[in-house]
Amino acid sequence: MDCHFTEKISLLIDDELTEEEAKEATAHLSDCVACQRAHDDFLRLRGEINSYAVASDFVAQRRALRRILGAEKPPLWRRSIRLPVPACALLLVALISLGVWLAFVRQSMPVSKEAEMKPQKVLTRPAPAQDLLDLARFDRGERAAIYKVRRANQGDIEQ
């Protein structure tokens, strides 16, 4: 036969009573045989349920973990690189400083100097190479004539 207090015993073993209620339940427990029996039975059941063990297969567990981790590999273009926040902040500050410095240097530079620095591109037509040997003549069969002229010139020098 159960006592009306048995529900409190269930709460007592679950530590779900206030301090006051727990004291009351404990005091009742020492006097009530039905509640003592319920208390013991509840704790025994707890032990039985807790002792239920699953077969420990660590290999299967590791395999399961690998399967889950391997199942979700994003394509290359969707992967993100994680940078620590301080590194990102430092990089940003460095970029801003560089930009400001470049702007300052450009502003402070005098116009004349700037003009000097610009390379002056003057298009000049190359002078006709009159003294140079016109190689196109070879193509027109004028080799012999050139040879003769050269021989004549050499003759002049020898004389």
Binding site: D14, L45, V54, Q61, I68
Partner: protein
Amino acid sequence: MARDNEEFTMIFNEHYRSLCRFLECLLGGRSDVAQEIAQESFLRFYRLEDDDLPTVEARFWLYRVARNLALNELSKRQTRHQLLGKVTEILRRRPPDPEENLERAERQQIVLELLKSLPEQQRAALLLREQEEMSYREIAHVLNITESKVKVDIFRARGAMRASWNKAVGISS
């Protein structure tokens, strides 16, 4: 892709076995199905964005999802095996390991049978309390019910199990 692998591995190693045990007891000893459901729950958890669920909530989230998946499985099986009944149940049982203590294996079997006789919600609440040592508040959070319902469910489950246990082992209460 969501979670940091290192963090996920830590959570997995911490909760996988307990989740398997909870599911196995909830499903009446079907370890293969329990493992499948546990893995599915962890996969869903892995796919969640970091911002969607804080790590402290992970345990409760996992148990809630696993329990819902187990409920689906239970209703599916109920329909599928209605005609085969007990015969299939016996055939599906894992033969006791020769190294295991026979008496302990028998007791485990009794515990499973007694748990199976409870309504699912009472069973889940009792398992979360006894095996996972969750508070009534946490159990209410996982099962999405009120704390007072948890209190009643656990007490009823204990009462029913106690009566059946004493009957099974031949003790009169």
